[in-house]
């Protein structure tokens, strides 16, 4: 006859575990998704502070090797507010873009009034679209469906939280040690590859911000073309909410 005894404390833990498992099963949220969500939030914070300013250069490279460059100043606050001002070339200088959640506007100095634009359009042409330029935190727009170990990396399968998000699905390879993305594939709902982002040249920007300083992208839809985004002077900074409004768009330069 085998007797088993259970201490009251151990019994409470078992009941708690059972409840968590039951709730997870009932809600359809696997434990790795919870871990994945935490990891994705770490990835976001590793890339940028919650509120910050930064400068970027966008370079579109054509198959012939010809390049076109754009320089912009960006400010972000909270999860869903971001604005960018074009500083160069002269033909684009003064143009501003604003994103509040899924709302996006473009301000062209001569035209004056901000016009609504969409995430899939591109104000600069090339492989980067507006969603890439005015990108919010990944965890704001995507849920983690599942994650896999892949050597020194973790592969996250992300699904857009709403249909308004530019890409339905992402596959993100995350460096385990640095918890920062190495590569992101942007996919349609059916799994067709739209573009691939490569995160390169990790750099210490100061203020506790160390992240890839270059993002390269290519796309099977633009064979032979490549776009590059170079980051500079990323730093934490708080802004008033009024900065992220249509009325303020002509004044973005005053924040520099």
């Amino acid at each position: 006859m085998i007797k088993t005894t259970t201490s009251p404390a151990r019994g409470r833990i078992t009941i708690f575990k059972s409840l968590v498992t039951l709730i997870a099963v009932l809600l359809g949220v696997p434990a790795f998704a919870l871990d994945g969500t935490r990891l994705l939030e770490q990835v976001d914070r590793g890339l940028n502070p919650v509120s910050y300013e930064m400068y970027r250069k966008l370079i579109n490279v054509e198959p012939s090797g010809a390049k076109k460059e754009f320089t912009m100043f960006s400010v972000k606050k909270d999860k869903d507010k971001i604005a960018a001002l074009f500083l160069a070339p002269a033909s684009e200088k003064g143009r501003g873009t604003l994103r509040l959640g899924e709302n996006m506007w473009l301000y062209i100095p001569n035209v004056g009034k901000p016009i609504r634009i969409t995430s899939l359009q591109s104000v600069v042409g090339g492989v980067f679209n507006n969603a890439d330029i005015l990108n919010l935190d990944y965890s704001t727009e995507y849920n983690v469906e599942r994650m896999e170990e892949a050597g020194g990396e973790i592969l996250l399968y992300l699904k857009a939280k709403t249909r308004e998000v530019a890409y339905d699905r992402l596959k993100m390879w995350v460096d385990k040690k640095q918890t920062q993305p190495v590569k992101v594939e942007c996919l349609t709902e059916a799994g067709m590859l739209i573009k691939t982002l490569y995160f390169k040249d990790r750099k210490d920007f100061g203020g506790g911000i160390a992240r890839p300083s270059v993002i390269e992208t290519d796309s099977p839809l633009f064979k032979g073309y490549k776009s590059v985004m170079i980051f500079a002077k990323i730093k934490k900074r708080d802004f008033k909410d009024e900065v992220f409004t249509l009325t303020f768009m002509p004044n973005l330069e005053s924040l520099r």
Binding site: Y55, K57, N60, E62, S64, G65, A66, K67, K68, E69, T71, F73, L87, A88, P89, A90, S91, K93, L100, G101, E102, N103, I108, N110, V111, G112, K113, I115, R116, T118, S119, L120, Q121, S122, G125, G126, R163, E164, A166, V214, F222, Y225, V228, I230, A232, K233, F239, K240, D241, E242, V243, F244, T245, L246, T247, F248, N251, E253, S254, R256
Partner: protein, 433 residues
């Protein structure tokens, strides 16, 4: 004409294929982003135009009654815009000049003016006060903006052209809040009209007051607008813009104008003043397909515009004046008609109901920075229209090349049918610096 088209096409293709040398290194020199207190820049443009004349049209007779032309008429246009600003602490001054140069059959002309010149004070991110010559740019419409009460009207043939402002004192107060209402802003405007000040706006000796209340409510941009003060009759309006989906936007404007006055000609050529309350409505969409075709469609109704009979009476007045000139040499009727043509009768969009459709394809065949477009503007009352195919290339830094042809189609006594031209071919090379 063929040789001209060939030359323009060759130049366009040469620019299209002009590419820089390949380099694989990417540099970001921080000196590029250093902020300076001042900014100087500008834009130069060369625009040769070839008009294909309609020698039976009323506006041809009006312009060329004393200098008949052949089938085509070349014209050379140039433009120089210079802008500068200086910023210190909360203060900023800004100015933009515009010089238009034109060489036509009758000689050359030059016109220079300040389109904008104003100073601003920005004590906080919530408040800005401005004074000087400024374009306010109210409204959501692309081709027309009936609620743009304190601006000059846009040219629907080129809605993105920089406009000349009026001398105003204005302020912007912005407040962001949590909840369905995310943003609220208020823009009061004072627009004085006195001798030598804003002369073209309306009756002199008046201090006009205008205002705009803006709300971002439930992800919808909403403006409430008004103008009062006497230089123009009182008017009120609202506009909205909203993304239904990420690639589908709707917008609209409504303006109510009290006691709108306009002079119309009767069948005998006598002018009479008509006064009535007028409503102007614009409704439009902007839609982007998965293959990057942007479609803009706008319907515009303007109570204050001319009806079909009004405009026919004007054309008949021109034709009678032309016949009198041909038989007697007396041009007084045509001179009167020219004066009217410089006002409401000659304005683009002078009638009541229009449809505007613009299709623009971004980078077809993977040709980066290349955007062909087709614009169709139709007068819904008389079914006359203009159709404008265009090619735009912006692949060379700071250089913008546009080639377009406009076909102007309509029967006699219709708006587009009585325009001076049957077609127009133009090439525009613009360089920013």
């Amino acid at each position: 004409m063929k040789r001209c088209c060939l030359a323009i096409g060759t130049v366009f293709c040469l620019f299209l294929s002009a590419m820089g040398a390949a380099q694989d290194t990417y540099t970001f020199d921080l000196a590029e982003i250093e902020k300076k207190p001042y900014h100087l820049g500008g834009y130069v443009e060369l625009k040769p135009v070839l008009f294909g004349l309609d020698r039976e049209a009323a506006f041809y007779k009006l312009r060329f009654y004393n200098s008949p032309q052949g089938q085509t008429l070349p014209e050379w246009n140039g433009r120089v815009q210079l802008e500068g600003s200086y910023e210190k602490d909360i203060y900023r001054i800004y100015a933009r000049t515009n010089t238009d140069l034109r060489q036509t059959h009758s000689g050359g002309s030059e016109r220079t003016l300040f389109q904008e010149a104003y100073g601003s004070i920005k004590p906080s991110s919530s408040l800005k006060i401005e004074m000087g010559k400024k374009v306010m740019r109210w409204g959501k419409g692309y081709a027309w903006s009936p609620v743009s009460f304190v601006d000059r009207p846009k040219d629907p043939d080129d809605p993105e052209l920089a406009l000349e402002g009026y001398i105003v004192a204005a302020a912007d107060y912005i407040k962001s809040v949590d909840g369905p209402l995310k943003t609220f802003s208020f823009t009061p405007v004072l627009l004085p009209v006195y001798d030598g000040l804003n002369g073209g706006f309306g009756s002199s000796g008046k201090m006009n007051v205008a205002g705009r209340l803006y709300f971002l409510l439930y992800d919808t941009d909403i403006d409430l607008l008004f103008l009062t003060g006497g230089s123009r009759t009182d008017r009120y309006g609202f506009d909205f813009s909203r993304n239904i989906t990420s690639n589908f936007e709707v917008h609209g404007e409504f303006a109510y104008i009290r006691n709108q006055q306009r002079s119309v000609l009767d069948a005998t050529g006598k002018s009479r003043l008509v006064e009535k309350d007028a409503r102007s409505t614009l409704i439009g969409i902007r839609y982007l397909t998965t293959f990057d075709l942007t479609t803009i469609v706008e319907y515009y109704h303007n109570d204050a515009g001319f009806g079909g009979d009004d405009i026919k009476n004007y054309y008949a007045f021109i034709n009678r004046g032309y016949d009198v000139y041909r038989s007697t040499g007396n041009a007084s009727a045509l001179v009167n008609a020219q004066t009217m043509g410089e006002g409401a009768y000659g304005r683009s969009g002078a009638m009541r109901d229009y449809l505007y459709v613009r299709l623009s394809q971004k980078e077809p065949f993977n040709i980066l920075y290349f955007a062909p477009a087709l614009t169709w503007m139709m007068n819904l009352e008389d079914r006359s229209y203009s159709l404008t195919p265009e090619l735009l290339y912006t692949g060379i830094t700071n250089l913008e090349l546009r080639f377009r042809t406009t076909f102007i189609v309509g029967a006699r006594n219709t708006e587009f049918g009585e325009k001076q031209n049957d077609y127009r071919i133009e090439f525009r090379a613009g360089y920013y610096f």
